[in-house]
Assembly symmetry: C2
Homo-oligomer: 279 residues x 2
């Protein structure tokens, strides 16, 4: 097992969390994981336009959580869009305490995870977020993370082996490529999931991504959910799309992955260092 996490601070680098979900996650933790100490930052609940508060407020809350030496892990409350807007600011102001922490989330927050991994700051971990409580079976997604905090590796993505891995939302990865936040993924298994994109957009994103992932160990395709209906069928499944672009670009297609915008979304610590040994 990996080193357990005790004190977890939750903030929202992108969009706001409903207070109800925070309360239910906190109650679940108190009832079932008494060793854990969860602190939801008030910024989680701020709403301003699309975001959980303006960039300055979201950045300040993230830094408050990350730079506090009493906190073991920062858990992102929700994705949605916006963490890329404060990623540079985070790196400009992260202190030594921030470098010793674990950062947990997925979807849009992949930009923060990618930049952390690129700069070897703390441990970046793809995993469910408090907002996932809203899903059917969401409590199990939350329990998976809280158990992992406590040192239980049972929630790890089952295909993880001796190869370093990362996990990203396809669109988030596509937008991070070519920016100062993109980590070097040479030799990595890249797990990719997507939600609410048309098949033609998924095809276009795979074109973009596979053109720039030379040297990876391969791609595994996670869940691709909530594909909107188009005015006509695309003509290829999402697996065929992934296989096609892997084939065109010479990247090994390694099969499916248990990640995605679903309650079954599993945990993928980036690299090998954060993974620890299975119990």
């Amino acid at each position: 097992m990996h080193r357990p996490v005790r004190k977890v601070a939750i903030c929202a680098p992108a969009t706001p969390l409903k207070r109800e979900y925070a309360e239910r996650v906190a109650a679940l933790a108190v009832a079932e994981f008494p060793d854990l100490d969860l602190h939801f930052h008030e910024q989680c609940f701020v709403e301003e336009g699309h975001f959980a508060g303006p960039d300055e407020l979201r950045l300040a809350a993230l830094l408050e959580c990350a730079n506090d030496p009493a906190i073991d892990a920062v858990w992102f409350a929700k994705g949605g869009y916006g963490s890329n807007r404060i990623t540079q600011g985070f790196h400009d102001h992260a202190n030594e305490a921030a470098r010793a922490k674990t950062y947990v989330g997925y979807s849009d927050c992949g930009t923060l995870l990618g930049a952390l991994y690129r700069n070897s700051i703390g441990h970046a971990v793809h995993a469910p977020m408090p907002c996932d409580l809203a899903r059917e079976g969401g409590e199990d997604a939350i329990r998976r993370v809280l158990s992992w905090f406590g040192g239980d590796d049972g929630g790890l993505e089952p295909g993880l082996g001796d190869t370093p891995a990362v996990a990203f939302n396809l669109y988030t990865l596509a937008m991070m490529l070519g920016t100062p936040f993109m980590p070097d993924l040479s030799g990595h298994e890249v797990l990719i999931e997507e939600v609410a994109e048309h098949e033609y957009a998924i095809d276009r994103l795979f074109f973009h991504v596979t053109a720039q992932l030379e040297g990876v160990a391969g791609i595994r395709l996670g869940e691709v959910t909530a594909i909107p209906e188009n005015d006509r069928p695309f003509g290829a499944s999402v697996v065929e799309i992934a296989q096609d672009w892997c084939s065109r670009s010479g990247i090994p297609y390694l099969g499916r992955a248990e990640i995605g915008h679903t309650a079954t979304n599993r945990i993928v610590p980036f690299g090998l260092e954060a993974r620890g040994t299975r119990a």
Copy 2:
């Protein structure tokens, strides 16, 4: 004025054109531009899944038009998505005749235009396409292109000056970045338009694009149309989004451009060579 174009071949590298629009464009050309000779390739009307035929068929039609020395210009019938899937094949098989031609279109076909410009193959020109006949005022958009084929520069984007320029759909440009098709845009004015994307997606695409356009002369923002309604207001206008990311990345924001998914979409020959002198 630039050198007039006489023989124009039309094919569909992405999605199919309705035969009705081809017939009406052809009739308009016969009635008002008797010196022009338009040839609609039958491939324009093929439908297979999302595309105007499979990759092989779209590529074969494009090469047939481009490699024919009797043809002066290739006009793309419609965008939609798919030209990126045959761009490499086009470059692998384009002959000397293809290098002497003018290529006209926009939207998804920007990937072809970008790759042509990168490799100095013929002249790449952003302009309305036959599918634009479907718009209110669409006949004027068609006339603008047919007049330009005839040597009339009156339809050029009015802000074009002594700086080389290109024009792209935002999403198409974002997906082309980092691929072997992306041209060097140092010193260029980059005109950018978008259609049917949420403001948060536009913000995300500008994050991606402006991180990789170092050295351009600046960005001008074209029309941004058909923005879907989101569950909450974004909090910034598209002009503010463009200005914000230009400011963050040190790229000059140069104001608006008369391009877009509209009937008023103007003509932007890529670079200076294809533009000629105004009449």
